[in-house]
Point group: C2
Chain length 108, copies 2
């Protein structure tokens, strides 16, 4: 079959030492990634500081993001999405420990 689907909840390694990231689709200037956490969060004191805009949606699970600029905390549940402009330093403070948290992120 020419047009092949894949599933967001399949093909995830059984054991994850750290956040699992894979690329679902891409082209120059755009990439779509799946991010899976099982209780993982950003290392203490670490801030993501990206050159691209990131649109990110939590598909399953729960997480807490922190933004450095205004020290705000955003609680994310299934269906929540947020656009993170370039150079908006942020971190994943927490993801739920017992079940998987699965995100879709589009970088552009």
């Amino acid at each position: 079959m020419k047009f092949q689907k894949e599933n967001l909840f399949e093909g995830i390694p059984a054991s994850l030492r750290s956040e699992f990231v894979d690329r679902l689709a891409w082209r120059k200037g755009v990439r779509i990634e799946r991010i899976v956490s099982r209780g993982h969060c950003s290392p203490a004191g670490y801030w993501y500081d990206q050159a691209e805009t990131e649109w990110v949606m939590l598909v399953k699970g729960a997480a807490r993001l922190r933004f450095e600029a205004d020290d705000s905390v955003v609680e994310m549940k299934a269906g929540d999405h947020i656009t993170i402009p370039p150079r908006s330093r942020h971190r994943v403070e927490w993801t739920q420990p017992k079940e998987e948290t699965v995100w879709i992120a589009v970088f552009y």
Copy 2:
């Protein structure tokens, strides 16, 4: 608060005469859309024929896509995603009638 989340399942009109589409994020050459159907499908004989690549994921619900090139049918359930290259004529043959079907589509 500077960084505002939204939720994919909120802000959907109570009554939909046709598929509901809104733009969640965009920049030149990239757009992220939410598509909501309540049993809607493509009109008889209608094929989408797009200049852009579309990556589309079914977040909630169920649907059936048909591709003209090989007359293939792809059943989509939650988490299923597929990349549709430019000019790949396709249609939505069916979405589940009783509950909402919600998609995320990235055009690039």
